[in-house]
Symmetry: D3
Subunit: 317 residues, 6 copies
């Protein structure tokens, strides 16, 4: 029992007030009442250049107070469709070794999965998607819609099979994702090999380069992505470096010449009606984000994914 | 009489020199020779989240030294068309109570209005547009072309009918603007109600969402806006949060997914030949603008509005 | 019941993880188990120049994860002495009018006071100390040890008797503080009147200017302060502008030429054994603090005050 | 002989390591083995407003570690086509007088030119292009593809015929460039004269304003540029203020409303197959670039020009 | 005649309002009523490393709104002692050549000098002190109290006898200052020669290193300085790099290990009663000052010098 | 052979020019001619909170161009005493596991050690000191003079015996340092245990807290340190978090209330004449250092250590 006026709805307070949870949802560690769990994964041990994504969850929690309850563009009102809570952080007790660290992250998501909680996560670097998929895609490979400058289907790098640039290769190899139901949008930048993303190509993933996105347009690309992933369960993984560096300066491997924030929001909104079982927004590195735009944009992307998962969850029932 | 070489034309000095007035125009408090007055309104007491727009006029004055005299795109040369001065700030003596503060601002603009000075203002938050309209639209409601992420036709909030998100509702209720001659461009973002902008809709304002702007294109939207406001007197109110957050990070309520600076300039230029009697650029909050781009962009928007008002003023004669 | 490993001790997690409460204490709104409540007061409506202190509580919560459990200098271990919780924010529902806003803040602290919770607060601007004192000093005036560049015993300003520069005059007039048991340390800067702090002088407050602090040394000043406040209940109010501007750039009215962070910590530590019933750290304005040092320093000051109040609380028993 | 494992390929090291040369190429001052020389020109004495471009080469060297070896969009792998080295800085011994300073820069490039090294330079302000052209275009005027907000064909300014806004007028007058084979893309912003770029117009340069670029599209403009410069030797000069100010805030004369980074990359890529003999990226001013995006983008532009020159060099043989 | 309430006393307005003149004094170009002129000298063409001091006057004007009217430490109220105005900028028409540029600056100060206006200037780099002295010390050499990390008595550098590190050598050679009445306080940092400041030593200047200042204390050093300069006319030149780099990060040649802001203010205050005929604060480079502390501190230093000159001026009469 | 004027002495170039090596020394990988090697160790995998020190070497290289050749305070001219080169980075090929990473770093320093090169390193986090000591202290334990806020003699943390807070415990256990000849200066801040630094105490290290440093003074502490380490070989390890957070905001575990930069320089200078065989400056994290002061200060600390090692090296001969 509370001694003073309970804060039943933090979302009604002025936005600069209160302890910052994701989108000012209530925090809970009682998963029985949770349909969708908003999770922080403060891990950047898979980074190959600029670290700092471990600070991503905090800063996105802070800036996500700007988010509201109804999606003006699609009409979706996620909080009316399901029970949404901030369920805290999948933090790592032994961060000095990557393989065990990813196992720890996996354990957290296994608990959520067992409790039928659909996770939407803020990274952390892109290596976190592997343990998430290990937790939620054990039974059947998921389709993937990935927004990213890089396919992240590289091989071992700097002596490790695990790092933020190999996630989707490892996930494919482990049978966690269906490469034929995988779309990678925004690919660009230089490469260190003539055919760096051969694994993507050969495994059947659909690579959409920035050039193709520019030439074809976001709507057509999304229409194709819908066809590719179909009605089966699909996961959305949004690496903010898919955005142009000015829309996401606060990231570990920035790439010049990406899509805009509006295009990102539009593409996400275009995925309405699909069977979206979870998602993540990764590679937000606040120390490189002096104006805060990357975290603000990350919060907006999280809200769009939340609307998709909420709608999908409601459709299930 | 000056003892040393008079600075007759501050605009010919190097840009980093001198006391910064708006666009390096001369300052005057003798309104008899002024056709268009450039005004600062350092008031952010109507802000509901991040304050700081009170510092907007100073920083725009500083950055507006980058502006020049001729509009290369439209050919308009405002300083050849009318007498333009920086007429100082509509500052508030009693800032701790919003209603009286807005009255003070109104008094300043009433003096300008009586002197037949057309005002172009830098805010300050969007609540300043209400007292400006109270001063200049007493006789007859004005048409409004508003660039903004939010319609600002909300109702009471945080216990007050006056705040930066209710300006155009209050102005309509007070008969200061004609909702049928009001266009709101760039609307987007989440809302806290399913139909937050019902007042806009029901009163007959034309809401142009970012989705519609993206799909239809800036030129067509502006053509429609021209039809809506027609040849009657019209006021332009530009809230910089209409721009995407990366084009205007220094603002109080940033919204991801807006239009670009080029689109903004192009839309303003497309309003040439209308009967534009004044305008404002609001919600520039320098403390959130580490690179200064928001103030620089605000200065460029102010120059475009200046060209429109100057051209309109010249056409009157 | 929690479904996954409960986070019993957030302070044992890596510091960059988790939802940021003050010093990684647990949050509670059940005051029955609380001895000391850590409170945010996100209010800057009493500011006369640069706003932004409303964002102080959030940023101090974030940076206070750097704090630990034992005071290496004094040996005090506050968490072993009493029950300490983050009790949330004293946020304001109607922020557009200062008098009512301060009443709202007062109500929050009255609830704490009735529950025998000693408050340690992070502002917000210095006007918040008045409603705190109204709540906790009703029965008997408190002694005050104030660290500040300004005495804050000014009179009406900008049309209001309530603002961040008049707090201790109003508190004296209302019988909330005993001016003879009030010490003001760090006073400096220009003034707008020859004898701006006459009220302090005439009411019997002890003003310690920076010049005197430099000449006499921190230890002697603190020894005198101990004599002045004696063994009666005393409140500590720390305005970060008492620090030199380089130690606290993120503040509303910065003053050049103040004391250092080490001197601040040392002076606070010198107050051990006094009867300290509460305290606050105010005027932290994160938008003006690009490197975060002001919030980090504010967290360290809060920890010192916590140690004093905890020790005092333990001595009571 | 090296005592420890030689760093044969700095590009294979993690990107945050090592002494930063341009794109992690080896440094040499033995020009006999160099086909393309990457050069810094740390000179901003031709700047008329915000200085700082002298720090450009260092910061681009630092950020260019993000660049890789293969152009994913065009397929060009420059390091497989020719020998590319960082050849250091064309620094100025007597920077206090502009005419002699430009002569010093010219001497540096003459040495490169005699050694058959094709230069790709990072400025510095745009005045550096004149001495580069004086060194490499002595025999025959070059075609120019210039990306810029300003034509830089102004006349004397602030008492000097040499400054960063007169480069291409002086180069034309000196017979270094062929105005009929000169294209200027991205021109916009206010002007101080009704026809500021008359020299461009009258000498036969093709001015592509931002309005035209927006209306016609980047691909068509580039197709026209290809026709204009033809198969004769051509030089690319990229002033980053051609980009919108948010894509290049760190510059000396920012202009609102420019093209995007993607459009810039696409236009450069569209120049493949032409006879490109060198190029520069100028006006990167790191002190105005808190997030580093301008230098990152500058590095990406440099890589595109490198691919063009490498391809052209390979075709020669 | 003014049409609306004239702003007779800008210093009574809220500090964030109005067009920023130095310390919110009125601007005038009628020197007949001026005793002390506050001048900006936006020139950084004498800089040998990081430029940007040309932006110093603007940013100090902006931040100097924090200054007030009475010196709480010394009791001096300058505005009651003499007529003080912002007299604008000594800007340079031909900035591309240093010798002529300094002549232009000299002309500005000669006009002031002829009008019996005592100048207090904000630079600009330290080369500006030479033309100021040329204007005001023609008749008789002045004593100098210089606060600085460097003696600035170097010889030709980078091909020029004029630069910001040779000012006081050139001034001595020209008979403008009396080296025996010159004190240089705060000297430190590495040197490029074993005895870099030989000129200072041999000409009889008193060099006070940081080591000596630390060991002897500010009060004793100032007492000695008073003896050295005596009662004859003396000029104060304050290079902000005398301060430690954390107190003045925004400067061209920062030096670690300097004195603090408090020590600076105290030393200046200790000069009361001397015959101070002018002064300057130089080398404030805002692009390197993200938190603004350098400009804020520069404004406070200017106010102290103003108090000294005002007091001295009043004593004259 | 060079084709153009060789850059024989980069230190004579203007400071903003050239490829940045440490202090503008020449780079070499031929160790036969090197007495003192300046090394970068871009590793921050031992960090427990804010990462980013991997970027330290680059930024210190950049800012160290501000350093000169002669120590004005002590008279030492290191470049006249021995051969000093930038020998590049001890970079890590397999950064995803800490134990192997430290082994890689050790290998680099073993090569230097075998070549009789005395290393002065820029970290990286404080875990780098362990492999350096493993390489250079194999034969006989070294004395240590450590400047730090933390003793770094903690035990396993976050599952690892290796991390930046356990370096000097592990080094003692491995017989690399003599705890009786170890002095730790600047210790402060909260702790998570009542006696966190018990290992330091019990092994005989001399802990000098900030309180003791403040009370006793830097000169007396250094005199004692000289006695403790005596004439035997000694290593200096400078963690920049020993400085107050405002002097070193760019660090991984900032602590409020430390010593100043001047005190740091003075303490280092006080170690002249000791037998100093190497040193490091660690924990500089540029992403948290918006004004660059931490890197500038780190460069100055490196220069002082260089003077000590050079003098010591010269004395050997």
């Amino acid at each position: 029992m509370s001694d003073y006026e309970e804060l039943d709805d933090p979302k009604s307070q002025p936005r600069y007030t209160g302890i910052p949870t994701f989108m000012r949802t209530a925090f809970t560690d009682n998963l029985s009442k949770v349909d969708i769990g908003l999770v922080g994964v403060p891990w950047d041990g898979g980074t190959t250049n600029r670290p700092g994504a471990r600070h991503g969850p905090r800063e996105v929690r802070n800036q996500s107070s700007l988010m509201r309850t109804h999606n003006q563009s699609t009409g979706v009102a996620p909080y009316e469709l399901c029970n949404i809570f901030d369920v805290g952080d999948a933090w790592v007790k032994k961060p000095f070794e990557i393989s065990g660290a990813l196992d720890e992250i996996q354990e957290f998501f296994e608990i959520l999965h067992k409790a039928n909680v659909k996770p939407i996560s803020i990274g952390g670097d892109h290596s976190i998607t592997l343990p998430i998929l290990r937790a939620i895609a054990k039974d059947k490979p998921l389709g993937i819609i990935q927004f990213d400058a890089h396919c992240d289907t590289g091989d071992d790098y700097l002596g490790s099979p695990l790092h933020h640039g190999a996630t989707f290769r490892r996930a494919t190899e482990e049978g966690l994702i269906d490469p034929k139901r995988t779309v990678q949008i925004g690919i660009r930048g230089g490469t260190v090999l003539p055919d760096l993303w051969r694994f993507s190509r050969e495994s059947g993933m659909r690579i959409v380069t920035m050039d193709e996105l520019y030439e074809t347009g976001a709507d057509a690309i999304i229409e194709e992505a819908r066809q590719i992933v179909g009605t089966e369960p699909t996961y959305i993984s949004f690496d903010v470096d898919g955005l142009d560096v000015v829309f996401a300066p606060g990231t570990g491997t920035p790439e010049v010449g990406g899509f805009s924030s509006y295009e990102a929001l539009r593409m996400l909104r275009g995925l309405g009606g699909l069977n979206i079982v979870g998602g993540d927004v990764v590679e937000i590195a606040p120390p490189f984000d002096p104006s805060g735009v990357t975290a603000i944009t990350g919060a907006a992307l999280m809200f769009e994914i939340l609307c998709l998962v909420a709608e999908s969850h409601a459709n299930e029932k």
